[in-house]
Symmetry: C2
Subunit: 188 residues, 2 copies
């Protein structure tokens, strides 16, 4: 099978998997259903992805690479507050919910592990611009690690959406951003 | 069936589910296997739990209610740093991994929603003592919300263990605790 043919088939299978994943929640998807929708034999799907969870995760990563825009409000507080709201909305959408639930359950093999790493690297590079701009303006110290700042803001939102399922409102989002910014070292 | 008999059967089924859940990862568990191990008909399990994910979550919540001890080092920084290490270790254990992965995927019905709420309420009440003691000592303002402080510390650990699967080391844990404490309002 040529590389081109593999790519085309893969896209079709991914699309079929995503349809299922988003409509039924990740756990409703079966290889049989994806095979029926994509017209590809279940045994071929098995050979390529190993499990339906891997297939769904692969499909979700494929379409949700650059969903969030990165705000540019002129201040770190404004940027992070706006970004937190975009993320909170995304994580309650069918696609966002399916993606994070799928990412949290999959037992990584080398392929999913690579896909996972690239996904978070691309996301944190894009969003890290907010922190880099703040450092360039002199609002925060130049040696602040953008990764940890982002994690302090986005982790509590993922935590509520995925695990506690508690309300995520503006008050909570602002508190998270304010504590994070308050805890950064400012240039002396 | 008497209440007592229901309780006994439930404990046996839970135990069977946990064995599976922890050994195979949550997605390896089937109602048939739990039925075989517990000696209870799969139809009865279906009636009681609806899905194998609900059964596993119920079982996991049942045994992991009070796994983490709450440190008392004399300072908020010391307490939170020690607690962060305990949590990071727990979340990489088979039981901790199975619990959070299971909690993140289950689509709540009213029973799992109640179990989820009680679980987090009990946990945050127990761990909240660290923040209450700090407020009583005058180390932080009395009106600081213990819940948000805890979330700022524990969410990034869950985020890495569940979603990015990146290394959680002492350096990362200390940075999370230090940013959180630095961002709290101190009494004037």
């Amino acid at each position: 099978m040529s590389r081109c043919r593999v790519q085309r088939v893969s896209a079709k299978e991914r699309h079929a998997a995503i349809g299922d994943g988003v409509e039924n929640g990740v756990r409703g998807v079966t290889m049989t259903e994806v095979a029926r929708r994509s017209g590809v034999h279940a045994t071929s799907l098995d050979r390529r992805w190993g499990s339906v969870e891997d297939l769904v995760l692969d499909a979700l990563l494929d379409v949700s690479g650059d969903t969030l825009t990165v705000p540019d409000t002129g201040s770190l507080r404004g940027d992070l507050r706006a970004f937190a709201r975009l993320l909170a909305d995304y994580l309650i959408s069918p696609l966002g919910t399916a993606l994070v639930r799928s990412m949290s359950t999959v037992e990584d093999d080398s392929a999913t592990s690579d896909a996972r790493r690239s996904f978070w690297l691309a996301r944190s590079k894009a969003a890290g611009v907010m922190i880099e701009r703040a450092a360039a303006r002199g609002d925060i110290a130049a040696d602040v690690d953008p990764r940890i700042v982002l994690e302090m803001v986005i982790a509590p939102i993922h935590f509520r959406r995925l695990l506690t399922r508690e309300v995520v409102d503006d008050r909570m989002l602002d508190a998270v951003v304010d504590i994070t910014i308050g805890g950064l070292s400012f240039p002396s």
